[in-house]
Amino acid sequence: MANVLVNAPKTAKRGSIVEIKALILHPMETGFRPGPNGRIIPRNIIERFTATWNGTEIFDMEMSPAIAANPFVSFFAVASESGTVGLRWTGDEGFVVEERVAIAVE
């Protein structure tokens, strides 16, 4: 159940700095907590978050169990050409979510 909220400008001036914000629904289970039955709940986190601009990687982040549930990531990029920003979250239990936003550069 992919559930993502992305906040990026629809248009940007060439050469300007834009902020891209991404929020995703994920439990980020640490793997250290015991469940109601006393057994450890297996780790289930997002391990990696990457962002590309027209296919070129512009942001890469490794996540750890210390990051809270529903991670919110905000980063900056220089708007050099119109195109698509691709966001990709990968993690435990085969978790893969991809999201795309278009930014028009004038």
Binding site: N3, L5, V6, L23, I24, L25, M28, A68, A69, N70
Partner: protein, 262 residues
């Protein structure tokens, strides 16, 4: 052309006066009540106001998916009967209420579950389950910005009175009542935290401590455990009574669902 400009002018005047009225309702001289939002730091207030940063909106989005999904033996979705969720505008501002044919009030979660079991003929959703919270958030979000308006149903009065009694009653090992903290000492500090006035303006809330969305019921259980009292069972009528009393106490305050709280 002139008529059009006049229309725009009217709209601006209307918006300006509306904004003014809102400002007065929030900060005005007569109403000294404070929503929990006003006691939070600026960063959290910003988080709540930004729909792409407020994690509660993830659940609203999820609720939107569930709204359109057929469920139960009826094979119907919420949308099949209710249409657009816009039909739910203002609903959250008037719950808890007594549903048709019943004699006891239910809260918004209870009402949604009732619709699910009676009309969709689907299994009951457990308290604090992701589905129930998401649907509640989706419905409550429609009432954002609406003033809290409890219904004028005389049958609610005895339940509300019992809620007030619970509010005033000392309980737990610490022998505290809700009123001792949230009426008598609101605004002061409990350890490093400001004691809020406990107005249910943002439910269901995304509480950072929980790292998830939670209902007023969960919040009340939290307080009960805090004063070392035994929380009522999940299906206990006490929660609805307290909810009734709190909504009446917050009458006229603005709903902010889904709220963000620390």
């Amino acid at each position: 052309m002139i008529a059009r400009h006049f229309g725009i002018g009217l709209a601006i005047v209307f918006i300006a006066s509306y904004a003014l009225a809102q400002g007065m309702a929030d900060k005005g001289g007569t109403d000294k009540r404070r929503s929990g939002t006003q006691d939070m730091g600026g960063v959290l207030q910003k988080m709540q106001d930004d729909d792409t940063a407020n994690p509660g909106m993830l659940f609203v989005q999820l609720g939107g998916e569930l709204w359109g999904k057929a469920s139960g033996a009826s094979g119907k979705s919420c949308a099949d009967c209710h249409g657009s969720v816009a039909s739910m505008k203002g609903v959250a501002a008037r719950y808890p209420a007594i549903p048709k044919g019943a004699d006891a009030p239910v809260d918004l979660e209870g009402r949604i579950d009732l619709c699910r079991t009676a009309n969709q003929r689907a299994g009951s959703l457990t308290s604090e389950s992701r589905e129930l919270l998401a649907l509640t958030a989706y419905v409550a979000h429609q009432s954002r910005g609406f003033p809290i308006t409890p219904p004028d149903d005389p049958r609610l009065a005895p339940f509300r009175a019992r809620g007030e009694k619970l509010w005033q009653a000392r309980q737990g090992q610490l022998n505290l009542s809700c009123a001792i903290c949230h009426d008598d000492n609101a605004g002061k500090k409990l350890a490093g935290v400001t004691i809020p006035e406990a107005h249910p303006t943002g439910y269901p809330i995304y509480r950072l401590e929980w790292q998830t969305l939670g209902s007023l019921k969960r919040r009340l259980r939290n307080c009960l455990a805090g004063i070392r009292a035994e929380p009522y069972a999940y299906d206990a009528p006490e929660y609805v009574m307290l909810d009734l009393f709190l909504m009446d106490r917050a009458r006229g305050m603005m709903l902010e669902s889904p709220g963000v709280r620390p």
